[in-house]
């Protein structure tokens, strides 16, 4: 399972990668916004995307839409981890096809729970 973690704050990328390693995911890569994430996603067989929303260059929601629009990545599970808590934004993400939505600050437990849920669905 190859996971791409996208956040403009390097501390948050480290935290998320740390937690993912903790949960047994060791094949991890990172990008600091949508613009750097997109070529990676197109080029390298990733299985899962964890992304922030508010980033310079290309935001997480734009990245999500790009991922869904590309046939190669359209089926990839996307988990959004963001400080954006407005209802309309959560709904926008849902409509764009997000698979999970976590608001910051979050706990290790929440991350595990959402990941489990996403994998259960994709398995079932």
């Amino acid at each position: 399972m190859k996971i791409l973690v996208v956040d403009d704050f390097s501390t948050m990328r480290r935290i998320i990668k740390n937690l993912l390693r903790e949960l047994g995911f060791t094949n991890l890569d990172e990008a600091d916004d949508g613009l750097t994430a997109l070529p990676k996603l197109k080029g390298g067989s990733y299985d899962f995307l964890v992304t922030d929303w508010n980033m310079p260059g290309m935001t997480g929601i734009e990245l999500l839409k790009e991922v869904r629009a590309n046939p190669d990545t359209a089926q990839m599970p996307v988990l959004m981890v963001t400080a954006e808590t407005k209802r309309e934004q959560i709904m926008e993400a849902a409509q764009a096809g997000v698979n999970g939505y976590i608001i910051k600050p979050f706990t290790a437990g929440t991350l595990k729970e959402k990941l489990d849920k996403i994998f259960q669905r994709s398995a079932g």
Binding site: I15, W53, A94, I102, K104, P105
Partner: protein, 246 residues
């Protein structure tokens, strides 16, 4: 035209003044001087009056556009709350980190002491300096040590994870501070505009508005700063998503 009239009038009065002075008619000369001075004052008063009116008009149109008022009434107080929240978050993160370290310290120190002790006994055993009874004691101590060592490692691991999670403050405070920086820039451009009006070096430019926030996203939730339509917790997010069929 006005200036020419003014100048010819002045010239005439100056000639009159010279004539009076040549005739040594001091009273008449004084009267001409007074006349000249009062005319000067009048022009000055008129100019000050005009300037005041322009300044007043500009200021009221500036205040009316609402940007400065909104900054004062809402955005500055919000910025204070945001910055206070940054202090709170950094303090909280520092405390969480230091508390976790405080809890780890005695555990690692205890482990260090017991391994030291066991290592000495083990060396004695290797050089055959241990009696059978002493060996038995050491064996049970080793078994206890292995058991606690595994528990302690798990404990330290948990605490290390707490420290890692506490660093999440950096992202959130960073986002909040960026918003305040944008606000400071807005205030700055409003002030520059105000100064240019007061200094009469320019008039209201464009639509008279300070640069509007490029970053329209709401960003991290800050207690006391109400953002319309904001959810309060992960549970709210989950409820909202499940209501949408997730």
């Amino acid at each position: 035209m006005h200036n020419e009239e003014n100048e010819s009038g002045l010239l005439e009065k100056a000639r009159l003044l010279v004539t009076h002075l040549e005739n040594k008619d001091k009273d008449k000369a004084d009267a001409v001087l007074e006349d000249l001075a009062s005319e000067r004052e009048m022009v000055l008063f008129q100019e000050v009056g005009q300037l005041t009116r322009e300044l007043h008009d500009n200021l009221s149109s500036f205040a009316l556009d609402g940007d400065l008022v909104n900054l004062k009434d809402n955005e500055i107080p919000d910025a204070k709350k945001r910055l206070n929240y940054v202090i709170e978050m950094t303090e909280d993160a520092a405390n969480k980190t230091l508390n976790a370290i405080d809890e780890i310290e005695p555990v690692t120190q205890g482990m260090e002491a017991s391994s030291q002790e066991l290592s000495e006994k083990w060396n004695k055993f290797m050089s055959r300096d241990l009696t059978v009874d002493q060996f038995k004691v050491m064996a049970s101590e080793i078994s206890l040590y292995l058991d606690t060592s595994s528990k302690n490692s798990k404990f330290v691991h948990e605490k290390v994870n707490e420290i890692v999670m506490a660093q999440g403050f950096q992202d959130l405070t960073g986002q909040i501070i960026r918003k305040v920086i944008t606000l400071v820039q807005d205030v700055e451009s409003s002030l520059v505009e105000l100064i240019s009006i007061a200094g009469k070096h320019g008039s209201l430019n464009g639509d008279g508005k300070a640069n509007k926030h490029v970053d329209e996203l709401a960003g991290p939730t800050v207690p006391g700063v109400d953002v319309e339509g904001e959810v309060n917790s992960q549970d709210d997010v989950d409820d909202l998503l499940s209501s949408l069929g997730f």
